[in-house]
Symmetry: C3
Subunit: 273 residues, 3 copies
């Protein structure tokens, strides 16, 4: 099967940061082989080596991308035994191929794109590089963008064998949602591994208790940040469809002492507070 | 009236930061609908929620931009009652339309572009989004870039009704300029709400006193940073035509203890110091 | 002589940071005059005024770039006596012209591109600008990209007269390499002014002693980060062909207390440790 013909963009997501020239060099490597490819930097600020944070960010991104090729690099195992892979997806829209290390980084994004339909193990450089973003992943993306097939880039592998990360933590019962904190964004919003449907299952009313960081705090369910009072905590459905604990114009994460990877509990309140 | 036909670029200015994928997703949203549009990131580092800082940055930018569409997002009221707007300008050069929240962010830039000539209130998503950059502003910019008219995007509103921010603070008299600090840049230069003409009106000589941060410091008027001695403070006309208090290869803001929003006084010195 | 006809990209490397709009304005200035030029941001995070760090970063970049024009700006002398230059290179591949201040920033990159073959002093603006990136360098890059010749942009100068920085510090003898620390990257890897050939000349075995930061630490020579134990220090040949002192998933620079500009000594160990 060939990936979607509409070339679209080359999307980049890495932990390279923006202080060094790493991201720029990857971009230059794409442009060198595919000068007409529009390159979109999704982010280069995944915390260094944090494959889980990268996988979550990629999963947030892919539903909002048009056609193209994604290069994702959070790769503590670069140059070692882990495989470098390119994986085609079954989605009717969105990026047709995801490229990166086979360490779980791509798995959730692939799930959201209909699952993998075909995968290859990319040929390593000789000797192995410590900068596969430049030497392996970007050249592969450029070749795909220019119309080469997955089979041209490496050895076919079973897409069911791709590495997966530990499942996301979520428990829902009547009156209670216990959820992993997936992400603290730039504004301090606390994104949870739960969605609106989980709030419905838990029979939440207009106010819930947020239990975490050694505190129990009431949070009002609102549609936007601006509906909150200055000292109030809110629960919104965020732009990715997740429940998020938020404040208005200040960081909920700082206010509650919460970090990514923590577990937060939401509890129904039977009586109005 | 249709906006300038030369499509130019889509320019982005936000407070999204670069750690998260927000800016990348906006860019991807533009590219999805208008794959050939060159997208230029002006900055994504306006301090969170600081509409005034965003409005000042946008005003610094627009005189230096070619044709195109600007998307500006510093939007604490997202999802609430504030309008989302697209505004056409009367300028012969520069961007033809500015898009963003109607909270004062666009007003000074519009003034510099000859004032608004036509405006529409963009249709909100249903339900309202907490990420209008992705869901409302970027799609509108892509549609304009592709040739649709303002009227296709929403309901016509009176451009004279757009929200304006409190005026910039500036008082000039003989021997004295009292000016709001508009901006501390990356190098620590202190940009004032005053220009060369104000220095002329105040009859400043080659040295003035800078009063602020609890200090009075002499500043020599120079044409470039490198004309200053290592421990000297200078007053230049900066690259935006503003008076700026500067040092050579160090931060004037740190040296003087000054922040954006402070008020600085410049005083003429009759006798040489 | 005309520079390479294949237009390629416009590459940007500056100390402008990404908080302010400086880099975006330079990009907009290129796009205004050359809307079809792909612009690649290499980095805008050279430490402010640090010409040496900028020259090293540029030298790391240029071997990996395709055709095009490089604009490099780390320019404490902007607006003063230093020349602004555009320099053509003799390389068969890579960027054909480098543009920037004549303060040593371009010299090592030019060496790597076969040396300068032709140079011009760019005409300054009147009055001199404090933002030559926007007012002088970007317009020159756009004009070159559109096909104008170097001679159209300024006055011919002798390319042998370009300013050079102090040489990089490196001493190699039997059993010993003393090398300047060129760069601490985002991951804390310590890049040295020495390569694999120097390690061969010094007759290093599989383990060497690293002397620096008041410590002597054994470092094992490995091919990738992941081959190291959690508490181990390693010596790799990095992605630029330099010897680098590294750790696995943590900062070697923090572990050893080393900064860019320091001198590290590597010593052979005759007996296994």
């Amino acid at each position: 099967m060939s990936w979607r013909a509409d070339r679209g963009c080359v999307f980049l997501l890495t932990d390279y940061g923006s202080v060094d020239e790493f991201a720029g060099i990857v971009r230059a490597a794409v442009s060198r082989s595919a000068p007409d490819a529009p390159v979109v930097d999704l982010t280069h600020h995944i915390p260094p080596y944090d494959v889980r944070a990268g996988a979550l960010a990629l999963a947030r991104c892919v539903p909002h991308l048009g056609p193209g090729v994604v290069v994702a690099v959070v790769d503590p195992g670069v140059g070692a035994a882990r495989r470098a892979v390119a994986v085609a997806t079954g989605a009717a829209t969105g990026p047709g191929v995801l490229i990166g290390p086979d360490n779980g980084l791509l798995a959730w994004a692939l799930d959201l794109l209909g699952g993998p339909t075909e995968a290859v193990s990319l040929r390593p450089t000789q000797p192995p590089s410590t900068f596969d973003g430049r030497d392996v992943f970007a050249p592969a993306a450029a070749r795909l963008w220019r119309g080469e097939s997955l089979a041209d880039l490496g050895t076919s592998i079973d897409p069911m064998d791709l590495v997966r990360l530990r499942d996301i933590g979520l428990t829902v019962s009547a009156g209670r949602v216990e959820a992993e904190v997936l992400w603290i964004d730039h504004f301090g919003n606390i994104q949870l591994a739960a969605g609106e449907a989980d709030a419905v299952s838990a029979c939440f009313g207009p106010i819930v208790h947020v239990v975490g960081g050694g505190r129990v705090v009431p949070a009002r369910r609102v549609g936007s940040f601006a509906q909150l009072e200055a000292d109030e905590v809110g629960l919104v459905v965020d732009a990715n469809g997740h429940l998020a604990v938020v404040c208005d114009r200040r960081s909920a994460a700082s206010a509650l002492g919460i970090a990514a990877g923590d577990v937060l509990e939401l509890r129904a309140i039977s009586e109005p507070v």
